[in-house]
C-alpha cells in the first residue's frame, strides 16, 4: 500500500502542496498528468530521492517520511534506464540481493529466475553499451525487482520505446504483476498505456491528485 497524506514538495521554483494519494496493496496504479505537472517529482519523493517539505508518506502502513531510500523497500525504474556501465547484466540482477546480504545460492537462484521471467538470459554476460532500448529497460526492471521490493515505482519506462517493443514491455509488466506480489505505481502521460496496464488511474492536475477514468 502507498499512502500520501497532505504531502508538500518544493523543487526549485516548482511546488506541490496538499497531495493525497492512496494505492491499495497489490494494485497497479498509473499516475497520469501533463509534462511538467510534477509526476516525476512526486515519484522521487515516494522513493526517498527528494525530501518532502510537509505531510507524511506511508508504505505498507509504515510512516517512511524520514527514511532513506534504502530502507523503503521500493524498486525504482527510471525513464532513462540508468544502467551501471561497468557491470554485466548478471551483476545488475545480483546487485540488490548482494547489497542486502543474500547468500550465494539465493542470489544465483534469483538471477536465474528473473532472467527467465524477463527473457534476458542470453544477455547475462553483456554490459549496457550495445543493449537495445527494450533490452536496457528489461534489465532496469529486473534490477529493480531483484531484491523482492514491496513496491515498484516506474517513471515513464516505456516512453522511449518503439510501438512493438512497448507492446512487449506492457505484456512483460502484466506477467511481472501476476508473478510478483508487488504494488505498482507507474507514471506516464500516455492514455493507451494506462488503459493497457492500470486497475487504478490517478491524474495529477493543477497540483492535486484526482481519480482518473
Amino acid at each position: 500500500m502507498i499512502r500520501l497524506e497532505n504531502v508538500a514538495i518544493r523543487a526549485g521554483s516548482f511546488r506541490l502542496a496538499n497531495i493525497d494519494l492512496e494505492v491499495a496493496t497489490g494494485r497497479y496504479a498509473v499516475l497520469m498528468g501533463r509534462t511538467g505537472s510534477g509526476k516525476t517529482t512526486l515519484l522521487e519523493s515516494i522513493c526517498g530521492l527528494r525530501s518532502v517539505t510537509g505531510g507524511r508518506i506511508f508504505l505498507m502502513d509504515e510512516d517512511v517520511t524520514g527514511f532513506k531510500p534504502a530502507r523503503r523497500g521500493i524498486g525504482y525504474v527510471p525513464q532513462d534506464p540508468a544502467l551501471f556501465d561497468t557491470m554485466t547484466v548478471r551483476e545488475h540482477l545480483a546487485f540488490a540481493p548482494a547489497i542486502r546480504g543474500w547468500n550465494r545460492a539465493e542470489l544465483t537462484e534469483r538471477v536465474a529466475e528473473l532472467s527467465e521471467l524477463l527473457g534476458i538470459r542470453h544477455l547475462l554476460d553483456r554490459k549496457p553499451p550495445g543493449l537495445s532500448g527494450g533490452e536496457a529497460q528489461r534489465v532496469s526492471l529486473g534490477r529493480a525487482l531483484a531484491g523482492r521490493p514491496r513496491i515498484l515505482c516506474l517513471d515513464e519506462p516505456l516512453s522511449a520505446l518503439d510501438d512493438e517493443t512497448r507492446a512487449e514491455m506492457q505484456q512483460l509488466l502484466r506477467s511481472v504483476r501476476q508473478q510478483s506480489p508487488v504494488t505498482m505505481l507507474h507514471v506516464t502521460h500516455q492514455a493507451g498505456e494506462a488503459r493497457a496496464l492500470a486497475d487504478q488511474v490517478l491524474v495529477l492536475r493543477q497540483g492535486r491528485v484526482e481519480p482518473g477514468t
Partner: protein, 271 residues
Amino acid sequence: MKSAVQPSDTPFYVCLALLGGIYVLLILAMLAADAAFTTPAQVWQVFRSNEIRYAVKLSLVSCSITTLLSLWIGVPLGYLISRVPFPGRGFLDALLDVPIVLPPLVIGLSLLILFQTPPGRALQRAVPITYAIPSVILAQFAVACAFAVRTMRVTFDQINPRSEQVALTLGCSQSQAFWLITLPQARRGLLTAGTLAWARALGEFGPILVFSGATRMKTEVLSTTVFLELSIGNLEAAVAVSLIMIVAALVVLAVVRRFGSEPAFRKALQP
C-alpha cells in the same frame, strides 16, 4: 529560370588550412629543431652525469607522489562540487581556479611566505620543508591538484546521477553508491586526472625555483636542470633533458587519447 552559379567552397577551406597550418608548422618545427639539435650519443652522455640522473629520479618520485596526493584530494573535492549543493560552492569553484591562473612565480612566493609564518615555522621545526625535497612535492602539488580537481569535477558532471539514485533505492548507502557505482564509472576521468597531474608536476618550474631553490643533488628536478644547464651555457645538455620532457608529454597525450576521458582533459585545460 537561369540557375545561379554556386561559388566554390575551396577558397574558404584553403584559407582555414593556411591560417591553422602556420601554428601546426610552428609546433612541428620546434619539436624537429630540438630533435635535430642533439644526437642519441649526446643524450646518453648527458645521462651519465650523476646530477642529471638524480634529477630524473627526483622528478619521477616527486611527480608520482604529487599525482597520488592530487587524486586523493581531487576525487572527493571534484565529487562534492559536482554533486552536493552547499553554500559557497560557486566561490569554492572559483577559488580552485586560482592556482591555475596565478603566475607560477607568485605561487612559489606565496608558499615561501606561508612557511615563514608562525604556524609554517612551527611545522618546519618538525619537518624541514623549504629548500628541501618536501618543498618540491608541495610546489608541484599546489598547481597539479587544481587540474586534478577540475578534471574530476567534469568527469562527475558527465556521469548520470540517476545511476547513483537507483543504487540508493536498491539498498546502498551514499558511500556504497559512490564506491560501487560512481567511482568505477569515473575510471577514465581518474586516469586522465592522474596523467594530467603527473604531466603538470613534471613541467612545474617557477614555484620550485622560488620555494625549493635549484640546488644540485638536492632539489633539482628536470625542469630545474634545463634552467641550470642553460645558465652555464651547456645547451646540449639542456636540449637533451628537454627531449625527455617532450617525450613524457607526448606519452601523456597518447595515454589520455587512448584510455582517458578526452572531454574531461580538454575542459581541465581550459582557462
